[in-house]
């Protein structure tokens, strides 16, 4: 810093603008967190919120329109739709989160190894990423999902295993720039191991984009799972998921539209809220402070 340039000190009573402070400015993002938390809590606490079982067939009250007894109506077998949406949400949200975790871990590992070690290994890993990127994901998932009788775990696994490519590229880019930093050189000159440099000095500084990517991946995975379930390839009945409920609803869509409308609204709401959190998180983490 040259002489004559005034240096402004932040007055001591003003706290540094932390992540949460910047995030909090966006009311909608805060509301989104509340929406996701509330919906997750409701799904988790499903047995407390409803007097019905998700698979309790009641042939005396099939395909009833929404009423006080059945807030969202009943389906073809007289099962309470509200109950099924809560239980279905457990599976859908869990698959979304699990596959995002799998994809993010895999992508971060590939990206950081490629970026850190460079050279041939980098080349091999990145060309592999290019290949995985070029194959249309949804059609490939359709083929893979058709091989197995899907469970929640297997769905999360195959979706996660096919959603690491973007993270890998982003993390590699981050690692490439961070590893040139002076503090990394300092750590290396002090004799730190590769492992320590990567985990102590590089990855903590790349955590922002990783978290943003993971958040957006949750929303994406929920949509992918519901698309596969909609084609009949997802988690099999009687376990409800939002996708397979929509598949069931398709036949009676014209006469019983609520069976189609409510599960779709649930997907839309969660994915919208999750994406919004991811988007605002990105803004809040952006060191240049660009605000849209």
């Amino acid at each position: 810093m040259s002489e004559g340039v005034p240096v402004y000190e932040r007055p001591a009573h003003i706290p540094p603008p932390g992540l949460w402070t910047r995030f909090r400015r966006h009311k909608l993002a805060v509301i989104s967190i509340a929406v996701v938390a509330l919906m997750t809590a409701m799904c988790a606490a499903a047995p407390l919120l409803t007097g019905y079982e998700f698979d309790a067939i009641d042939l005396g009250s099939i395909r009833e329109a929404p009423s006080l007894d059945h807030w969202m109506g009943t389906d073809d077998l007289g099962r309470d739709l509200f109950t099924r949406i809560l239980y279905g949400g457990r599976v859908s949200i869990l698959i979304g989160v699990l596959s995002a975790v799998i994809g993010t871990l895999l992508g971060s590992t590939v990206g950081s190894v490629a970026g850190f070690y460079g050279g041939r290994l980098d080349n091999v890993l990145m060309r592999t990423t290019d290949v995985a990127y070029a194959i249309p994901t949804l059609p490939l998932l359709i083929v893979l999902a058709s091989y197995t009788a899907a469970t929640g775990g297997s769905m999360a696994l195959i979706i996660g295993l096919l959603s690491w490519m973007t993270t890998a590229r982003v993390v590699r880019g981050e690692v490439l720039s961070i590893k040139e930093m002076a503090y990394v050189e300092a750590a290396r000159s002090l004799g730190a191991t590769d492992w320590r440099i990567l985990f102590q000095h590089i990855l903590p500084n790349a955590v922002g984009p990783i978290v943003v990517g993971a958040t957006l991946a949750v929303g994406n995975a929920i949509i992918v799972e519901s698309s596969l379930s909609f084609l009949g390839l997802g988690v099999q009945p009687p376990t409800p998921t939002w996708g397979n409920m929509l598949m069931d609803a398709q036949a009676t869509m014209v006469t019983k539209p609520w069976l189609t409308i409510f599960p779709g609204m649930a997907i839309l709401l969660v994915v919208l809220a999750v994406n919004f959190i991811g988007d605002r998180l990105q803004d809040a983490l952006d060191p240049t402070g660009r605000e849209a």
Partner: protein, 306 residues
């Protein structure tokens, strides 16, 4: 590019090899009658008794000559079936691409010019909803509203039975096109908005205004020309994503294209057909990546490829 396609074929081959019971297992398992000649031809083509690498070399050799094998479900050559269905898919993808581009330009430009207006906020809200919307659910809702309740538009197929008019066909195209383009309208309009906002703050735009040019000329000619560069390359990249979207959209609207054939092939466990379509989809992705690179170079003279 060639190594990339080569890598893709290896992965696809491995995926099909991983089919339960092997690729020919589905044939024996279905219990349906399949021309023994087809089974024999397929066994011979794959040489299922041969080591896997040799099987792969045989398959790739055929694929390079345009021979993608014989379909289990129809006993016809896969390449013939794909070529038959390709026009319907290209029509749907093309129409969606055009619609998405037009709407995104209008929406993105207006949002940028009127930044922070109610229109801009509405546009932002719309694009968030558009991206979070499950494609198949959006399709169902449109079918319900415009097909069943309002009875304005047909919900399936390409033509009313017996009708041959172009109008009738175009009406059938409306809903699938809207469904397939939604996500891209949402995405591209945001891209255009942010890159226009940057362009509108540049010195050359101030110069253009100072010369007394109309606002339309400033925005649409001077600013847009540069703002479009990143958007066009995103559009070319997304063209390939349209292929994935077509699988769901065609299935719901009974649109007789490759996407619907893919889902049918999956249920019939018609592996040669699945493999052929996956290969075509991947080659499209690679091709549009190349188009994106070339478009970038043409639009931005500063970029030169070695």
């Amino acid at each position: 590019m060639i190594p990339l396609v080569f890598g893709i074929t290896i992965v696809l081959f491995a995926v099909i090899q991983a089919a339960p019971g092997g690729p020919e297992g589905a044939l024996l398992e279905t219990g349906r009658f399949i021309d023994p000649e087809v089974i024999e031809a397929y066994r011979e083509r794959l040489g299922v008794d041969q080591p896997v690498p040799i099987q792969y070399v045989r398959w790739i050799g055929g694929a390079m000559r345009g021979d993608l094998g014989i379909s289990f479900s129809t006993t016809r050559p896969v390449s013939e079936m794909i070529i038959e269905r390709l026009p319907a898919t290209l029509e749907l993808m093309g129409a969606s691409f055009l619609l998405a581009a037009l709407l995104a330009f209008a929406l993105g430009t207006l949002s940028a010019v009127k930044q922070y207006s109610w229109f801009d906020h509405l546009g932002t809200g719309f694009s968030f909803v558009g991206i979070a919307m499950p494609v198949f659910w959006f399709a169902l809702i449109l079918q319900l509203v415009f097909g069943v309740w309002l009875q304005w538009l047909p919900v399936a197929g390409t033509q009313t039975v017996g009708a041959t008019s172009v109008t009738d066909h175009v009406l059938h195209l409306v809903l699938p096109t809207v469904v397939l383009s939604l996500r891209y309208v949402a995405g591209w309009s945001r891209y255009l908005r942010s890159s226009l906002l940057v362009a509108l703050r540049t010195d050359y735009v101030r110069t253009a205004r100072a010369k007394g040019l109309s606002e339309v000329a400033v925005v649409c000619v001077h600013a847009a020309r540069n703002a479009l560069i990143p958007v066009v390359s995103v559009m070319a990249l997304n063209l390939a994503g349209l292929f994935s979207g077509a699988v769901i959209t065609e299935t719901i609207f009974a649109w007789p294209g490759i996407g619907r054939m893919f889902v049918q092939a999956m249920f019939a466990r018609d592996y040669p057909l699945l493999m052929g379509i996956l290969l075509l989809g991947s080659v499209m992705v690679v091709f549009f990546n190349l188009v994106a690179d070339i478009a970038y170079g043409i639009l931005d003279p500063r970029i030169r490829y070695e």
